[in-house]
């Protein structure tokens, strides 16, 4: 590596780098200063010993320290240790330049927290090359950290928005008071954002519309699709359509929007409390599970149907299950049945068996919590998990 002439400047932004030179020998300091300047680094502060350097750190805020070891008052070893004890300077590159050249001196310096070590007499080319490497690494690390914290903040904001798509506790309490149907819900994206969402609405005549959506994949892409589908669901409206008609209408709108390979599974249901029936239609969703007071195991519905977004002309079957007072309905995303068990997966039968074991639990919150606990204990859940337990008051 060669030293570029100073007149060319530093295309990599080193001209804004701040270097603190710590050496008790004035001639050495000036030598280092001249050397750094040749490399295009002009923001340089000098300190005469470790104590002086620590004081100057506070306002100078260096990007790199060039540190001598043998100095009066406080030597380089001690300064380095104190520096590293301060979380602000944990990652600061400290390049030791010393006439101590025994292996144990180097080892002591690294143990005190030094990043790198060169021995005097200084080789100008080597020193400048090392300074540049450390400054560049620090700049890259800082960029990454900034990117990381910005992304984290944006994802947190987006997650909040996504959670607000879902019905909150107030709306669920209101629904229960008006209709006698209690909803216990669990929503856990596998990363910050998820491809699942669900909704529930009161319709005229005491009826209730409920839906659960699971976009293919997960993460940001799938999450953006949930916002899109939420808007479409509101546009289509659940009031006048049967679940099957609703799915067909949503599918038609979604087909033109999704790129190849993306789709959603969806279950749409309509609870009719007067007739005591749960009408539903499914676009490749998981099988709804439903049980009546006295049932020993849940009854499995039929989730078969072409997922949304694949074929504009797709039509969906109208299906139904009895939902008398006291009955419970369980809807869930496929993460619940794709938990690995040996070489197979849990599947619907495994999930139904878990429900059967707690089918007499009167407290719906406890039932759902116990079920989720058992699911998590079964194996890793590496997809978004949504679970809804609807209880019709007896």
């Amino acid at each position: 590596m060669s030293v570029e002439p100073a007149v060319r400047g530093t295309p990599d932004g080193l001209e804004s780098a701040r270097v603190l030179v710590v050496d008790d020998n004035r001639i050495n300091r000036h030598l280092l200063l001249a050397l750094l300047e040749r490399g295009g680094i002009t923001l340089v502060e000098q300190a005469e010993d470790g104590q002086d350097a620590l004081t100057r750190m506070e306002h100078f805020k260096p990007d790199l320290v060039l540190l001598d070891l043998m100095m009066p008052h406080m030597d380089g070893f001690e300064m380095c240790r104190r520096l590293r004890a301060d979380p602000r300077w944990k990652a600061l590159p400290v390049l030791v330049q010393s006439s101590l050249n025994r292996a144990e001196d180097r080892a002591r310096a690294f143990a005190a927290g030094a990043t790198d070590y060169v021995t005097k007499p200084i080789n100008a080319v080597e020193l400048l090359a090392r300074v540049r490497i450390h400054l560049r690494k620090r700049a890259l690390l800082r960029d990454l950290e900034q990117y990381h914290s910005r992304t984290e903040a944006e994802l947190a904001l987006a997650r909040n928005m996504q959670v607000r798509l879902l019905p909150g506790p107030d709306r669920l309490a209101e629904l229960e008071a008006a209709t006698g149907v209690a909803v216990d819900a669990h929503f856990a994206p596998s990363s910050e954002l998820g491809g699942d969402f669900w909704g529930i609405e009161r319709l005229p005549g005491g009826r209730i519309a409920v839906y659960l959506v699971d976009f293919s994949g997960h993460g940001v892409g799938a999450a953006l699709n949930t916002f899109r589908l939420d808007a479409i669901c509101r546009q289509v409206g659940t009031t006048a359509l049967t679940p099957a008609e609703f799915l067909a209408a949503v599918n038609r709108r979604l087909c033109g929007l999704l790129p190849s390979g993306q789709f959603a599974t969806m279950l749409t249901g309509l609870i009719d409390p007067v007739a005591g029936v749960f009408h539903y239609a499914s676009a490749g969703s998981t099988a709804p599970m439903l049980w009546l007071p006295g049932d020993a195991a849940p009854r499995l519905g039929d989730g078969t149907g072409l997922p949304l977004g694949l074929l504009p002309s797709a039509s969906y079957d109208s299906r139904q299950m009895p939902l008398p007072p006291g009955a419970r309905l369980f809807l869930y995303s496929d993460a619940a049945i794709e938990i690995p068990v040996g070489t197979d997966v849990l599947d619907e039968t495994g999930l139904a068996a878990m429900i059967a074991r707690r089918i007499d639990e009167p407290d719906s919150g406890r039932l759902l919590a116990g079920l989720l606990e058992e699911l998590r204990a079964t194996g890793p859940i590496d997809d978004d998990l949504t679970a809804l337990l609807l209880t019709r008051r007896g």
Binding site: D214, F215, S216, G217, H218, S260, G261, Q262, F263, T265, G284, S285, G303, T304, G305, L306, P307, L310, L311, A314, D334, E338, P340, T343, D344, V345, D347, D383
Partner: protein, 101 residues
């Protein structure tokens, strides 16, 4: 997931093994490229050794179907078993891709 391709006269048989998930995106992209390149008119995905497919995996199979249509090739899914067969059935994939036993 990994795979092996066997090109016969008129038919290329791609045998998928293991689990086809979100993480196999790049690998499946490569595979689709290979399927488009080889001369066979019929591209068969043999799923008999595939143990698991998630929704992202189904999505990739649908991308393969589209790419094969663009390359003017037939695309067939064959011999799915277990969880893979159940997922293909629930999603009625047979409505858009020919499925053979």
């Amino acid at each position: 997931m990994d795979y092996g391709i066997e090109v016969r006269d008129q038919e290329a048989v791609v045998r998928l093994r293991g689990r086809l998930t979100f993480n196999d995106h790049a690998k499946l992209r490569t595979l689709i490229g290979e399927m488009a390149q080889n001369p066979a008119r019929r591209q068969v995905l043999d799923l008999s050794s595939l143990e698991f497919v998630d929704s992202a995996g189904i999505g990739m199979l649908l991308i393969a179907r589209e790419e094969m249509a663009n390359a003017n090739k037939q695309f067939i899914l064959r011999a799915a078993t277990g969880q893979v067969k159940r997922v293909l059935t629930v999603a009625q994939i047979a409505k858009i891709v020919p499925i053979e036993d």
